[in-house]
Structure formats: structure tokens, C-alpha cells
């Protein structure tokens, strides 16, 4: 009996922690918006973060984009061939990439590459009192540290998604047309006919949401590390906060992908 009560209690404690963290993340978004609306406006920090989140991820995105495109080309070809409608290959690859896989895969790549290091960076800044030092210099950490990252995430993830989509279409082209001999015209025309502006827009909207979501979750996990259990654990705390951030933002990406897809 007592042990059941204990389990219920720990479930309750977990829920409260989860609520607190969600609240802090949302609060951080409001802080960032407030700071963005107030001068001084500085652009170089955003460029720097875009370099880190966006430009440095480009190789990874291109490689994974081509691979995903090739995989899709291969699988769709195998399926479509059974129904004798390989001319739908271009449409299948393009719709799959532009509506779903492009935004989601790009966001997950950004989580793994940039998100984890954002959390680690902010966590280390927190435990080595660098955040306190900023506060004491009367420089708002929200403005100086968080806002450039969130804005850079908002801009970089859609740009990366577009690059991902672009190269994935060519990955599918390579497999479908060059390897299996699907007619080049039917691949590209199928694509052009099937993909509407709404599809491109849906992918774009998704990637904007993912960009903000990922950077925000990763920032708040690192920045508010001292308020969680991990805060008192030093280097180990940073590593567990980073793991948490990656897991959480990946789930957030997948779940919001479903939500946006369902609402659109």
C-alpha cells in the first residue's frame, strides 16, 4: 500500500517537473520576443549563430538528403513497379520529401548536431557562473545568449530544409532515372504535376515551427540547468541535460509534425 502511494507520488512529482519545464520554456519564448522588440538590435550574433546552426550543418544535410532521396527512390520504385505505375515515382518522392521527410529529418539532424551543443554550451556557462557574470554586467542573457540562437534556429532550419528537399529530389532522380531507367520526363513532370504550392508551404511552415521548437527546448534545458536535478551534478549534469534536450526536442518535432499535419 505504502509502495503504491510512493509510486503515485513520484508520478505526481514527475508531472510537476514536466509542467515547470514546459512553463520555463514558454516563458523563455516570451522573454526572447520581448528582447527582440527592444533595442539595441544586434545582427552579428545572429549571423554567428546561423553560421553555427545552419552553415556548419550543410554538409550533413546534403549527405543525408541525398541518401534519403535515394532510399525513397528505391523503395517507391519497388512498390510502384508492382502496379506498373513507375511514372508516379517523381510524385511519390517529391511529396514524401517536401511534405514530411524534409522538415522532420532536417530538424532531427539539427537537434543532433547543433541542439545538443547549444544545451551543453549553456549548461557549462551556467555552472561556471558565466551566466551570472553576464547578469552582473547588466547584460540580459536572454538578449545576449538566447535570442540570437532562437532567431538563428528560426531562419536556419527552413533554409536547411529547402536544401535537404532539393538534394533529396536529385537523390531520387539518380536512383529512379539513372539506375532503374524511369523516363526522365515522367519523373520531373510527375513531380511538377503532383506537388502544389500548398505542399511546399506546409513543409516550410513545419520547418519554421521545428526551428523555434528545437532551439527553444535546447536553450531552456541548458540555461535553466541549475533549477533541475542535473544542476548540482556538474559535468555529469551537463551531459544528462544534453541527453534530455535531445530526446525531448526530437519527440517535440515528431509530435508537432503530426499536429501540424492533422491541422493543415
Amino acid at each position: 500500500m505504502a509502495s503504491i502511494a510512493k509510486h503515485v507520488e513520484s508520478l505526481g512529482a514527475y508531472c510537476i517537473t514536466a509542467m515547470e519545464q514546459t512553463g520555463r520554456t514558454f516563458n523563455m519564448l516570451l522573454q526572447v520576443l520581448w528582447e527582440l522588440l527592444h533595442p539595441p538590435y544586434r545582427f552579428y550574433p545572429i549571423v554567428r549563430q546561423m553560421y553555427f546552426i545552419g552553415a556548419r550543418s550543410l554538409t550533413l544535410i546534403i549527405v543525408s538528403g541525398v541518401t534519403i532521396g535515394m532510399v525513397l527512390g528505391l523503395q517507391f520504385y519497388n512498390i510502384l513497379q508492382r502496379f506498373g505505375s513507375v511514372e508516379l515515382l517523381g510524385a511519390g518522392v517529391a511529396l514524401g520529401v517536401i511534405r514530411e521527410l524534409g522538415p522532420v529529418m532536417t530538424a532531427l539532424m539539427v537537434v543532433g548536431r547543433a541542439g545538443s551543443s547549444i544545451t551543453a554550451e549553456l549548461g557549462i556557462m551556467r555552472i561556471t557562473e558565466q551566466v551570472d557574470a553576464l547578469e552582473c554586467m547588466a547584460i540580459s542573457p536572454d538578449k545576449f545568449l538566447i535570442a540570437p540562437k532562437v532567431v538563428a534556429g528560426l531562419l536556419s532550419v527552413p533554409l536547411l530544409t529547402m536544401v535537404f528537399d532539393f538534394v533529396a529530389l536529385f537523390g531520387g532522380y539518380f536512383v529512379g532515372v539513372k539506375m532503374f531507367g524511369v523516363a526522365e520526363g515522367s519523373y520531373w513532370n510527375g513531380m511538377t504535376d503532383a506537388v502544389e504550392w500548398q505542399d511546399v508551404r506546409l513543409g516550410l511552415e513545419k520547418s519554421f515551427v521545428f526551428g523555434v521548437l528545437v532551439t527553444l527546448i535546447c536553450c531552456s534545458r541548458g540555461f535553466y540547468m541549475h533549477l533541475t536535478k542535473a544542476g548540482s551534478q556538474g559535468a555529469e549534469g551537463v551531459s544528462s541535460a544534453t541527453t534530455d534536450a535531445v530526446v525531448l526536442s526530437s519527440i517535440a518535432v515528431l509530435f508537432s509534425d503530426f499536429l501540424i499535419g492533422a491541422l493543415a
Binding site: 552553415a55 536556419s156 533554409l159 504535376d193 511546399v200
Partner: protein, 161 residues
């Protein structure tokens, strides 16, 4: 030096991303910065089930325009379809537009068949000869229950009513 490098690479990244976006939006997504020159005609159908805005208008198998709008006409319970016809494609007053399907389960599109009148339609005018979408289920049920309607065919010519 370092600072310039970061800016340069980020700039290239942004340009690359925007170029990829433009390619998708314009070439594949079919969004055009300027509407392609042409004129719009209107047609009323009994049923257009499956037809979408952005769909293709074909004549003799060649793409000659796009479906620019679909509305419902509450008075007559009909579908009003706006047809954007490319410039240089003449449509006669007695031309026939019909809703067709690519293959058995493919996309719906509109087929334009030339008429014989010398008078041509201009922007905003209506095509009266329309053939609605062929419903596979209707055809099948007709065949099974052997119930033939007055017209004898699955397609109704709206104009004669």
C-alpha cells in the same frame, strides 16, 4: 578575417537555401511570380469530384492551362470551375470541357475538345458544353443492376437541360 569568413560562409548558406526554396516553389510547386499570360473561362459541372485547384487542362494531350478556382453554386447545386487558359489557345463557343482521370486511379484533369463554331470565347465567358466526372462506382452499379437512365450514357451533357 575570422569575422569576415563567418559572414561569408553564412551568406553563401543563406543564398543556397533561398535558391533551393525558389526552385521548389517556382518549378515544382507551380507558384509563379507573375501569372502566366492567358484568359479565364467559366464552366458549370454537375459533379467534379476529385478535381483540385491547380489541376491541369489538356487539349489533345497537351497542357494548355490550369484550374484556377473551384466554387459551389448554391442556386443550381453545381460546381463552378474557373479555367485559366494559356494565351494563344483559342476556345470556340461550342468547345466541350470534360472531367477526366489519368489512368484508372490517377489525378483528375479537364479535357478540352475543340468545337466547330468560328466564334471564340474571351475572358470571363462561359463554356456551356460540359461533361461531369465519371464516377466509377456509378458505372459499376449501373452495370450490375442493369438500370439504364434516359440518356443511356454515364455522362450527362449539362447544356441540354
Amino acid at each position: 578575417m575570422n569575422k569576415i569568413n563567418v559572414q561569408l560562409i553564412t551568406g553563401i548558406f543563406v543564398l543556397f537555401g533561398i535558391a533551393a526554396f525558389t526552385y521548389q516553389a517556382v518549378t515544382i510547386g507551380g507558384a509563379s511570380i507573375r501569372p502566366t499570360p492567358g484568359y479565364t473561362l467559366v464552366a458549370r459541372f454537375d459533379s467534379i469530384s476529385g478535381l483540385r485547384v491547380g489541376g491541369i487542362i489538356e487539349a489533345a494531350g497537351v497542357r494548355i492551362g490550369t484550374i484556377s478556382g473551384i466554387k459551389f453554386d448554391p442556386d443550381n447545386y453545381k460546381a463552378i470551375v474557373n479555367l485559366r487558359i494559356n494565351e494563344g489557345v483559342p476556345v470556340q463557343q461550342d468547345a466541350i470541357v470534360s472531367v477526366r482521370t489519368q489512368g484508372i486511379i490517377g489525378e483528375k484533369y479537364i479535357k478540352l475538345s475543340a468545337g466547330g463554331f468560328p466564334e471564340l470565347l474571351t475572358d470571363g465567358m462561359e463554356i456551356h458544353e460540359t461533361e461531369s466526372a465519371v464516377s466509377l462506382e456509378e458505372l459499376v452499379s449501373k452495370y450490375i443492376f442493369n438500370s439504364s437512365s434516359g440518356s443511356g450514357s454515364g455522362n450527362n451533357s449539362d447544356a441540354k437541360k
